[in-house]
Amino acid sequence: MKAMNRRKLISVSAVLAVASLAATAVPAQAAEVGVSSSVIKLGMTLPMTGAASLGYNKIPGAAKAYFDYLNANGGVNGRSIKLIVKDDRYVPTEAVAKTNELILKDKVMALLAPLGTANNRAVASAVNPAKRGVPVLFLNTGFSGFADLKKYPTHYMVLPSYIMEAKIMGKYIAENFAGKKIGLLYQDDDFGTDALAGFKTAGVNFTVKVAYASGSQGAAAAAGWITKFKAAEADVVILFGVSSATSAMLGVAAQLKYAPQWMLGSVGGDATTIKLTGVPAGVLYNAVGFSSVPATTDMKDEYIKLFSDIYAKAVPGSAFDLNVLLGMNTAFMTAQALKAAGTNPTRKSLMAAIDSKGATFANSALVPLGYSATSHVGLTGYWVGKYSPTGDLSPVGGTYVTYTTDSGAGPVVKSTYVRPAMPAKGLPN
């Protein structure tokens, strides 16, 4: 181990000496890049430090917790899974550099859950995983553009798009809040643009719309937003922003005793995260919320039970929140995809497996997956719930009512999807 590090150190010095243009050894040829007889290597880039890392930096720990559990139970066809994580600080330049390292130096088989719209676009354009045949599994962004098979043939979405969410919200508003004055808080970028497009399709008319610049959502700004919503006398206020914006808004609203009917988007709607930032649970009470996976506190759910047990053992003291659940769910889906890819998985067989069987992959979500040979759309809808007096999102009346739709002009329909039972011990079957 030590010797290897020294060699690495020497090679780094050599890099310094000849302007980083040092030759590196060509590795032994394997059946497929990143797949050896005992290990499958996967790579992930996401913000681990910096302002954008809040909450998201729990994802690698969550995914690793599941993979470690899987490896301890025999792995996938005898191979263990190794996840290599790199910090991109939410900067495209870093994301490209780190993805290069993952593909060219660490030689991973596939990229897993890279985060952020701008970063994913930069990587797709500069590194071009499609041209290299590298699968990019289960993107951690809801930007609908990545479902375009022509532009992103090796990318697979997993989160429902922001457009879908806005459309489903629109349906809920039409059915429950007809004639009320609706206010919207949204982020002043593509995240918001997608939302606006969805609301437009759904025919929602807003009395007041408040945009905020990403990164400016402090307490002082939130006080200003509330003043605007108050002045417009909005009955229902939709918070379609990131967690920090939702938290700032609800925290200040509690101080001002401002209590319209809240409606929280899924991105910023994780109760655990919101409460951790000091928002009193009572403020969330009766707010309408949307999610595609079960509530993280729903211990009756077999996935939540198993995942939270695994996570508590792997990362003691860390709260089991939405990011953790999504990270573990993604890892679980990845394991099934690898299993379905055959005894000697290749990049091609991995993608073929998702195309043909992906829609039936067991996972914790309560809405169907949209994978097929002609679609890389992931989850396709949401269930609607309300927050309890303790601030946890739970389905109205105790049963999950789910809606599905698409990112285009398609209708929003009540889903009849029944989630398949969890495979034994939560291992891929």
Binding site: A19, T49, N57, A126
Partner: protein, 344 residues
């Protein structure tokens, strides 16, 4: 006379280009990409060295100037389908105009005021992209320079093409800057940096001289910005965070703020640090909390140590030490201060 001087300096740059050409054929793809990144940083750091080291003005907002260049190049590429060479020229021109405006403001400000103003610029400017649809919002614009001409062969990778373009741009701008610094303007900057009043007495219009420095520096920074967005295929606000401006300044300080030729050192360090940090982290094998913050700590610590102990950069320090030794040898009784005048 001057022409002769310039052409005599062209040779090392051409030689350097030839060396890089052969080197790029010998190493793997990752190193080629890193080589391209280094070339981009060389250009960016050179622009800061020109401004801060030679003209004595500090900028914490060069990331914003790079963003101007990058957006200009991408918009002209997309809207007018301009040839790629012209896109880079546009990047230089537009950023230079921005720099001239900023320079006009800067000429009225000194040290800390200028630092703060440029800092505020670095924070606020990139977020403007969300206000105008043509700039593509948070997801940004695509900036595709296309693949290498077929005549270079099928094996010629995209990254090699990036590297060639960036290396050529770096060599060209270094050569240009070298010559500008040797010209009258360069002498004016050094004179006003040392003592503004004395320079004014000697008939130098220091305000105009400062604005000119800002303009040229911004143009070069704009080129660096366009090159940077070439290597990531897109232009977006998040590609130009405050941290970029800080990193570049770090690179410039590590290079030695008063030696243009040192730009390489800072650029290599910036690219190498994350890899070094990874090795160190692996070695001490500690918690995730420590390993993820190690690169940031290393860069900052290096910056502080350099400012404290090698304030004039390693190259200058080396020269100074050599000069000192030589002076001692000849038993000259003159007190040799560390050279302050850059490479005159």
């Amino acid at each position: 006379m001057r022409k002769h001087k310039e052409s005599s300096h062209l040779l090392p740059f051409i030689l350097g280009g030839v060396v890089l050409y052969f080197l790029s054929g010998m190493v793997d793809e990752l190193r080629v990409y890193q080589g391209a990144s280094i070339a981009v940083y060389v250009v960016a750091i050179a622009s800061i060295i020109l401004l801060t080291g030679y003209s004595g003005q500090v900028s914490l907002g060069h990331g914003a100037l790079m963003a101007i260049g990058a957006y200009a190049a991408a918009v002209f590429r997309i809207e007018f389908n301009l040839p790629i060479v012209l896109c880079f020229v546009v990047a230089v021109l537009v950023a230079a105009i921005g720099g001239a405006l900023l320079g006009a403001a800067a000429a009225r400000l000194s040290g800390p005021y200028l630092a703060g103003t440029t800092l505020a610029l670095a924070i606020s400017l990139p977020s403007l992209a969300n206000e105008f649809a043509v700039l593509g919002g948070e997801q940004g614009l695509l900036f595709d320079v296309g693949s290498a001409p077929l005549s270079l062969g099928k094996e010629f990778t995209q990254y090699k093409w990036f590297f060639w373009i960036a290396a050529l741009a770096a060599l060209t701008s270094m050569w240009l800057l070298q010559n500008i610094l040797r010209s009258r303007y360069g002498r004016n900057w050094r004179a006003s940096r040392g003592n503004e009043v004395a320079a004014q007495l000697a008939g130098i219009n220091t305000a105009r001289s400062k604005i000119l420095a800002f303009t040229i520096s911004a143009g070069i920074a704009g080129l660096a910005g366009a090159l940077l967005s070439m290597t990531i295929g897109t232009v977006s606000p998040s590609a130009f965070p405050l941290n970029l401006s800080f990193s570049l300044l770090t690179g410039a300080v590590l290079s030695g703020l008063s030696t243009l030729s040192g730009a390489m050192i800072g650029a290599v360090v910036l690219v190498a640090i994350p890899e070094i940090a990874e090795v160190v982290a692996e070695r001490i094998g500690s918690s995730e909390n420590i390993t993820t913050n190690l690169p940031g700590l290393l860069v900052s610590a290096l910056l502080v140590l350099t400012v404290l102990f090698v304030p004039n950069g390693p190259v200058e320090q080396h020269h100074a030490r050599k000069a000192k030794k030589a002076a001692k040898k000849k038993e000259l009784n003159i007190l040799t201060k560390p050279s302050m005048e850059g490479n005159t």
